[in-house]
């Protein structure tokens, strides 16, 4: 690990001041940042420890939603009564990720900002446009089993690896962000970036900006689930995952909020799917149409070609289960 200067922030303003330095990084649980610092993938000159800043609360908002502090641990969130009762898709997504030891340290903010698990990104001897702009992408034409099928670019085909944010996208949660110049709110659906020509950019955070919380809208009716398909049944990143909130009204679909993990550089949300599904009677033909729409522009890179049929089948399974249609 490269040497760095360690500073502990005692409040939000202090954190901002400390981070106003060349190559400073916030550290929360440290489970992603320290991992990458040991590999010299991340080489911050200063670490700003935000664990004493507060922002650990999970509390109801005035409109009946829920505000989850950026420093609330994944364990605190997944075991919180209101999350378990009203946002089971979120509890399930968190519990499907990592291990209890990691979730005990991992935080809301750190989880949102976790970096890709692309093998070329984490190996400094390999070319990677995300880690070293202009060095090329090792994964295109290389080992790409974990990689994206949607929204890729000629520069980068990495996936966002997290589970929690996929549920937050289905729930249409908002990210609250602060900096020395003020505060802003960004929908989770707009928080992560597609790789495009700037693959080094994972999300919309500017230097020094800090996530203060995530806000969930008031609970909605319907059936919530998180389905994660992975190489083994525990402790593995998603190949494909789907967070879903589906409500039926009689024989018709009244709500279908879906988000997909493991398929893109961002938790993937496609509004067109809701538009297609809502107001329709569910059947296999309709699910096929939804999959066609989702995968219209999907592209495989050899090793990950299997993700295209896998995403289709997973979508079928999720929609059949949620609507009660026999597969």
């Amino acid at each position: 690990m490269r040497p760095f200067d360690y500073q502990r922030a005692d409040g939000l303003t202090h954190a901002g001041q400390l981070a106003d330095a060349d190559e400073a990084a916030y550290i929360a649980g440290g489970t992603n940042l320290l991992d990458l610092m040991k590999l010299q993938v991340e080489t911050p000159r200063r670490l700003v420890d935000i664990n004493k800043v507060g922002m650990r609360e999970i509390e109801q908002t005035d409109d009946g939603g829920l505000r989850i502090g950026a420093l609330a641990t994944n364990t605190a969130t997944a075991s919180h009564d209101l999350v378990r009762r009203n946002y089971p898709v979120l509890a399930r997504a968190i519990l499907a990720g990592a291990t209890q030891q990691l979730r005990n340290r991992a935080t809301t903010g750190g989880n949102l900002c976790q970096r890709t698990r692309c093998y070329y990104f984490t190996n400094i001897d390999q070319p990677c446009n995300k880690r070293e702009p202009g060095s090329g992408c090792g994964a295109i034409q290389g080992i790409a089993r974990l990689h994206a099928i949607l929204g890729t670019s000629s520069q980068c085909i990495a996936t966002y690896p997290g589970d929690m944010a996929v549920a937050l996208s289905a729930l249409d949660a908002k990210v609250e962000i602060a900096s020395e110049s003020g505060e802003r709110t960004v929908p989770v659906r707009d928080f992560h970036c597609l790789p495009g020509d700037t693959p080094w950019r994972d999300n919309v955070l500017e230097a020094g900006e800090i996530i203060t919380s995530v806000v969930l809208p008031p609970p909605v009716a319907g059936r919530q689930s998180y389905r994660k398909v992975r190489e083994r049944s525990s402790y593995a990143f998603a190949l494909v995952s789907i967070a879903s909130i589906v409500e039926m009204e009689g024989d018709m679909i009244a709500r279908a909020d879906l988000a997909f993990g493991g398929v893109a550089h961002i938790p993937w949300h496609d509004e067109r799917l809701s538009n297609l599904l809502v107001g329709q009677a569910p059947d296999r033909k309709l699910f096929d149409k939804a999959a066609d729409l989702l995968l219209e522009d999907a592209q495989g890179y050899g090793e990950n070609d299997f993700k295209i049929p896998l995403a289709r089948r997973t979508l079928h399974a999720v929609l059949s289960e949620a609507t009660g249609v026999d597969q």
């Binding site: 690990m1 040497p3 760095f4 200067d5 360690y6 550290i27 649980g29 440290g30 489970t31 320290l34 991992d35 040991k38 670490l47 420890d49 664990n51 364990t75 997944a78 075991s79 378990r84 009762r85 089971p88 509890a91 399930r92 519990l95 499907a96 990592a98 291990t99 209890q100 030891q101 990691l102 005990n104 340290r105 525990s234 402790y235």
Partner: protein, 169 residues
């Protein structure tokens, strides 16, 4: 004021180099080598310790971030003369072969039984709200962060079930 970390009820000063992980601090500064380093990347669980009662991977944490915290290692759970219920059960059930993963397994299982008492669900729990029943599937899921290269898993599960029963009795 120098900050300290309490390890098994004794206070130790925090090392000057902020790069020292909590794991290296325990092994090299405090001299407690029960806690093991397997991968140093949060993947194997050999370094699991309890910090303020919660299990974490000590390799993915900096000692300097733990000022004021209370750490319990395998040495703090019991000793050969006075083993904890889990330590005893691991011996009785042969819950190991080479023993390298064992301190992490025991620390992890100690916290796990508390988590079940708290009613915290896992990925294997049928319901998010109900009481957690300590089935083999629950144990396997909750212990999935502790790998055993010797594959002593069946006996580890048996040891934990046994100790949990004793716990409840």
């Amino acid at each position: 004021m120098t900050e300290t970390i309490t390890v098994n009820e004794t206070e130790y000063p925090i090392p000057a180099d902020p790069r020292v992980s909590l794991l290296d601090f325990l092994r090299q500064h405090v001299g407690l080598t029960g806690t093991k380093k397997g991968c140093d990347h949060g993947q194997c669980g050999a370094c699991t310790v309890l910090v303020n009662g919660m299990r974490i991977n000590s390799c993915l944490s900096l000692a300097v971030m733990h000022g004021g915290d209370s750490v319990t290692t395998i040495e703090g759970l019991g000793n050969p003369e006075n083993p904890s219920a889990l330590q005893k059960a691991f011996v009785e059930h042969d819950g190991y072969q080479c023993g390298y993963c064992t301190p992490g397994q025991v620390c992890s299982a100690t916290a796990m039984l508390q988590e079940i008492d708290n009613g915290w669900p896992s990925d294997a729990s049928e319901s998010l709200e109900g009481e957690v029943e300590l089935t083999a599937d629950e144990i396997r899921e909750r212990m999935s962060g502790n790998l055993c290269r010797c594959g002593a898993y069946p006996n580890i599960v048996a040891a934990i079930r046994d100790a949990a029963k004793e716990d409840a009795a």
